[in-house]
């Protein structure tokens, strides 16, 4: 049984302009001790998905579908159960560690508060001892517990956030763009740290990012999101060497390669999530779109074992792969 199975998850926001379909029918599984990378451009619904998995969405959001954790659909459970799940089984770390810690509370108070909310019987000294050990394992001195957030650097804060996430040894760590606001050297350190703690704590990780380089370094499997949907999901090798969806190819083409040293960009913009196009959401930007793509929506189908894609022309294109790979979209951009 998978650790977490998400089935047909929909998250709609009501706004003054209409309903924003931020996440629209997302389905995926994550196994134990596996790292799943979720990639996509900003605004594709990645972060909403992360918050949806913990059900901490703002009141304007409406969530439906199934989130099955350890065999239980958590969306059917009462609030208190959900609250316990958060952090004890699934922990979340965020993009911007600068603003995620309460400025008026010392680091240690964040730990103590978390213990208080989940395990009342743990004594303060015991909690502080655990916190100190965790600080050691994320490479911070336990003295940092006595600091206020504004006294720490960005990298230190993210380390502290990770230590905080490990308090109850969760089975799943969701990391939403964990290194985006950090500089490159700190980014490498944090990624290394995440790999280390993953092994130490036997966790699964969902790594949400727009950065393909990070995915390549960290992930076992990769899901590609576009406009609220997963358009392709497969193993790291599959996605990087045999991408099937034209959008994935475009994304891979967007990476600066050593040979060309120039950034190839995709033409067009992601669609408006209030009025998405009728057919395939990528069709207006897709170099291979045919009439069918404009009218009906492709569903996520397994093309090869363990590699699914939502594209009518995937099989056709797979055969032409050698010719089309990477060069095609660049051509179109000219």
């Amino acid at each position: 049984m998978s650790l977490l199975s998400v089935r047909n998850l929909r998250i709609y926001y009501s706004s003054s302009r209409g309903i924003v379909k931020a996440v629209d029918g997302v389905t995926f599984d994550i196994e134990r001790e596996e790292t799943l990378g979720i990639v996509g451009e900003s605004g594709c619904g990645k972060s909403t998905l992360a918050m949806g998995l913990l059900d901490i969405l703002p009141p304007s959001a409406n969530i439906s579908g199934e989130i099955i954790l350890d065999g239980e659909n958590i969306l059917e459970k009462e609030k208190e159960y959900l609250r316990k799940i958060r952090h004890e089984k699934v922990a979340l770390i965020f993009q911007d560690p600068m603003t995620r810690l309460d400025p008026l509370m010392k680091i240690k108070d964040h730990f103590l508060e978390t213990f208080r909310s989940h395990k009342r019987d743990v004594k303060e000294e015991e909690a502080l001892r655990i916190a100190g050990n965790l600080m050691n394992s994320v490479g911070l001195s336990p003295e940092v517990l006595d600091y206020y957030p504004h006294e720490l650097s960005g990298g230190m804060r993210q380390r502290a956030m990770i230590a905080l996430a490990l308090v109850f040894n969760p089975q799943l760590l969701i990391a939403d763009e964990p290194t985006t606001s950090l500089d490159v050297i700190v980014e490498a350190q944090i990624l290394q740290l995440m790999n280390k703690i993953k092994k130490e704590f036997h966790m699964s990780i969902i790594l949400i990012t727009h950065n393909l380089g990070i995915v390549a370094e960290m992930a076992d499997r990769v899901a590609v999101m576009y406009a609220g949907k997963i358009v392709e999901i497969g193993s790291l090798a599959d996605i990087f060497t045999r991408p099937l969806h034209p959008y994935t190819r475009g994304l891979l083409g967007s990476v600066i390669t050593l040979e060309s040293r120039e950034l190839v960009t995709m033409p067009g913009e992601p669609p408006d999530l209030i009025n998405p196009p009728k057919g395939c959401r990528f069709a207006p930007r897709c170099p291979y779109a045919i009439e069918m793509c404009m009218n009906s929506e492709p569903s996520l189908q397994e093309a090869v074992k363990g590699h699914s894609v939502a594209c009518f022309r995937a099989l056709e294109l797979m055969e032409e792969r050698d010719i089309l790979y990477r060069g095609d979209i660049a051509e179109k951009a000219d």
Binding site: I56, I85, E88, T99, D102
Partner: protein, 342 residues
Amino acid sequence: MAERKGSLRSYILSRIILAIPMLLIIITFVFFIMRVAPGDPVAAMLGPHAPLAYKEKLREELGLTLPLYQQYLNYLAQVFTLNLGSSLTTGDSVATDIFVYYFPATLELTIFSTIVALGVGIPLGKIAAVKRDKKADVVIRLFGIIIYALPIYWFGFMLQLLFGYYLGIFPTGGRLSPGITPPPHITGLYTIDSLLTGNISTFLDALWHLALPSITLGLILSGVFIRTIRVNMLNTLQSDYVQAARARGVDEKEVINRHAYRNALVPVVTIMGMEIALLFAGAVLTETTYSFKGMGYLLVWSIQNRDYTMVQGAVIVYSIIIILFSGIIDIINAYIDPRIRY
């Protein structure tokens, strides 16, 4: 950590240095209004039909015949030695009158009013934010708008009418009941002095007389706090750290009280700083309404009785108090919120 204390000390120092030119500017502005701007203080004092010789004599007495720069220097000397001359009506020393009798009364009133304003404004603002756009929010916001629109004296009279005349719960004026002797002068604040001398019945009587004036002024000022706390808390409720706390499975009650509420309270001290002017202006009207013998009462009385030196003295003391208080508030603020100093 020693470094942090050092930066606080330098902040306080720079704040004090800033206060000096501000005080000079206000003091000069007061001089300008009272001596240079159109409007003859002597005529204002004696009325238009006073004999000319009389006017000249008074002018001489007040030093108004000297050249302007000399008047200004005399004036500055007066301010910095706090030798504010003597009252034209009673002959008492202006400085003694103000600092011994009138200022402590105003201080007492403003302290109790601030307690009422905070005690009403903060919880209401919090409720409004938590119940955003629900009935409670709408009612509280409306209360905030209307209470701020009330003329203080009118609101005071209505409270006098209700609690004083109809219900007979509170006295409608004065600082103590007739027949009760004021406590020996230590601070000038009757509540504190009576407590210090262990005179409980005088303490209760002073408190009883403070009730209506403080409620009047406090409620009117609470509107500002309701508004700011509500807005601040709406912001903190949507802040990243609140979302992060929810993601950690922190109890919703703790999320609201510990994270959202505490952070929303940080700017309260700043608002209090901005409210000081409003507080003292409001105190003038409240004191007049309740015949509460504070500085505002003194100011209006002196104007009505054409006591020029007393008016000038009161305005100078007001300037000093305002600068002093806003400086103190800034320093408290820097102490509470470490981020200010960075």
